[in-house]
């Protein structure tokens, strides 16, 4: 009937006590309490018996060998069977780039197209104003590198390209877009029927990038599906 009874021992403390995982201070406290508290002592003894029963549980023998056969491995294939990380990244990067390029293309392609439509239905005065605006847009779009400009020219008549070959890139661009060997400065170029060039070379170039990316996407998709 002690008036000052120490705190009861929790199941967690009993469990750690059984496993010798209490620090010395806690262990001494548990030992002292078990001396004076019958209910905690019963809880401890029963838990200790339970652990002993578990430890004495018989081991069962494996009913057979679980070794893998060649047949198991045939269906399983090599250990590293899952799709490699690079393929997942490639698929993600190509898909995102493809969407970005399509978006860029739509953005660039809409303006000339709208101007084309407008030109068909407007009187001559306004047409002149619009063509000037178009010319500005054409100039603003970045010029292709000298090599690609030359390549464009080479597709045209041989003598023409021979005369322009040495011209600076800006002139090469304008002459190629008006489809002739006429040498004009960019400021004068817009006036005339060729001013509203159907699509700037950048858009053409983008189309090829799109086709390439679409092909790449298809290849990656097939790889993804039929990965061994």
């Amino acid at each position: 009937m002690g008036v000052l009874r120490s705190r009861h021992v929790s199941d967690k403390e009993l469990s750690l006590f059984i496993d010798h995982r209490l620090n010395s201070r806690d262990r001494q406290r548990v030992e002292a309490h078990l001396q004076e508290c019958a209910s905690c002592r019963r809880a401890y003894e029963d838990m200790q018996a339970t652990v002993l029963f578990l430890q004495q549980m018989p081991r069962v023998a494996a009913p057979r060998a679980f070794t893998l056969t060649e047949a198991d491995v045939q269906s399983v294939r090599k250990p590293s069977r899952s799709r490699p990380v690079w393929l997942r990244w490639a698929a993600a990067v190509v898909a995102v780039t493809f969407l970005f390029v399509i978006g860029l293309d739509l953005f660039l392609a809409t303006s000339p197209h709208e101007f084309d439509q407008a030109l068909l239905h407007t009187p001559a005065e306004t047409r002149a104003i619009i063509t000037k605006e178009v010319a500005k847009v054409v100039q603003v779009t970045p010029a292709p590198s000298q090599e690609s400009a030359k390549a464009l020219l080479r597709e045209e008549s041989a003598p023409a390209s021979a005369t322009v070959e040495s011209a600076p890139p800006a002139q090469a661009l304008s002459s190629s877009s008006i489809r002739g060997p006429v040498k004009v400065t960019p400021e004068k170029a817009p006036v005339g029927d060729s001013a509203a060039a159907p699509s700037p070379p950048l858009v053409d170039w983008l189309k090829w990038v799109e086709v390439g990316l679409a092909g790449l996407l298809l290849v990656i998709l097939l790889l993804y599906i039929f990965w061994p």
């Binding site: 578990l54 018989p58 494996a62 009913p63 250990p79």
Partner: protein
Amino acid sequence: MSSPRMQEDQHIIRLAKSGDIAAFNQLVLRYQNQAYNVAYRLLGDPDGAADATQEAFIKAYQRLHQLRGEHFRPWLLRIVTNTCYDILRRRARRATQPLDAMEDEDPERLPRWQSDEETPEEVALRHEIGRAVEEGLLELSPEHRAVVVLSDIEGLSYEEISQVLNIPVGTVKSRLSRARARLRDYLRSHYPELLPAAYRQ
């Protein structure tokens, strides 16, 4: 801290990773008994345990490339316990009772149950204790069962259990104490005559 056995494992694992099935089968033979015992105690029936063990070794072979630096045994036992959790979930969904395998238990499968020095009464008592504990284990949640099986039947340390179950050591301590307390309380209410407190009344 790595024993010669673990170093040997590392060597075999390197061979197995290159697709050497014979090397992998050395690991199977080395750990199949422990894997089967864990599965048997978690599922409570021999057929389910055999299926789980086979499934776990196939998964281990498939995922061998994911094993980096970790020791093989806790890694394998994690696959075994997770496979058993899956099986238990499937069973719970189908709401079928686990096979009553303990009833027709073959005494020859339990060699340690019997020894020449034991009287028939002692043998009977051991049998009763074994049955009671098996029953009580199946009353625990799979998580509590796993921690008590790994600790008290398989003899793993808190640190190893923490690796197998992928939980902090602190969680191992509290989960183990709760599992032991529940099992104790189950035995108290169903088999009070087996526990020492019964003799003290």
